[in-house]
């Protein structure tokens, strides 16, 4: 249903980011604790060693999500996600995301989340696919934290 592909940070289309953000602003703001859009764009577009940006397309070829992060010590440190809807994210991050991260040599996904948000809940529940991801215990009760998920 969704096609994921690795893209260069410079290939992120900021007009699409604007569209995705404006269409899903409430959810994105809640999950990010209101990080300004400019900083989200900065995370998406910054060029850095071992940067891994992923573009998600739906069946019609429309871009419906971007993620940004870096691969460090066989783990994908994912700090930034802009998506058309929560459903798009949940579905696209199950098998397709798992597959592409494995292809990149990753053994773990490290999700940078705000405690108490829907994204935090999704990550601690192994993105709803305990056959693919195994969330490690995390004791954080407030603020930002990093959830470690083993790629099974």
């Amino acid at each position: 249903m969704y096609q994921l592909r690795v893209i260069e940070p410079t290939a992120v289309d900021m007009s699409i980011v604007d569209t995705l953000y404006n269409g899903n602003k409430k959810v994105i703001d809640e999950n990010s604790n209101n990080i300004p859009l400019g900083r989200i764009k900065g995370k998406l577009s910054s060029v850095a060693p071992n940067k891994l940006n992923i573009e998600v397309l739906d069946g019609s070829g429309e871009v419906v999500a971007y993620t940004a992060g870096r691969i460090r010590k066989n783990a994908y440190h994912c700090t930034t996600i802009v998506t058309k809807s929560a459903r798009v994210f949940t579905i696209s991050t199950q098998e397709p995301w798992h597959t592409i991260l494995k292809e990149q040599g990753c053994t773990h996904l490290l999700a940078y989340v705000v405690v108490g948000t829907p994204m935090h809940a999704l990550m601690v529940q192994s993105i709803g696919r305990t056959d693919l991801y195994k969330a490690m215990p995390n004791e954080a009760t407030e603020g930002n934290t990093v959830i470690s998920l083993e790629l099974l």
């Binding site: 990010s32 604790n33 990080i35 900083r39 989200i40 900065g42 995370k43 910054s46 060029v47 850095a48 060693p49 071992n50 870096r70 460090r72 440190h77 700090t79 930034t80 940078y112 989340v113 705000v114 930002n144 934290t145 990093v146």
Partner: protein, 151 residues
Amino acid sequence: MSSGAIALVGASGSGSTNVSLMTVGFTESKEIDFYGFARQPWPVFSDEGTPEIGDLAPATVTVGGVNYSVYALNWSSTSGLKFVVLDDAQSLSVSSVTSIATSQGTYTLSGATFSSTNKSGSNYSQWLLTTEDNYFNFAEDAQTNVTFTAV
């Protein structure tokens, strides 16, 4: 004659240089990237909870023949360059260190905001330079020479 020679060196504005080897540290939060070197009591604050990053050897900058210990030399995506040295006598000024260079570029500190801060009974001199130029943008744990030019 010798004093004239000294005056000539001073007039040239070339300053003195010393070189340290940086092991580039990296850490991040949802919105900020940190690159470079930081140690207590001048940590960085990331979601990873790794306040001390990188290494610098020797962790000193030489000004007027005196070595000052460096506690922070890093760039962040929200604040730019931060450079902090221990300066108990508060003898340094914004122009004491004129530039800091890596193979990726040179920070000129004349435009930096300079301040003196007391932490735990010690005085530190701090240069903050607002810039989007990240000259520490190496892979994590990469090694690079850092050249300090001082008066």
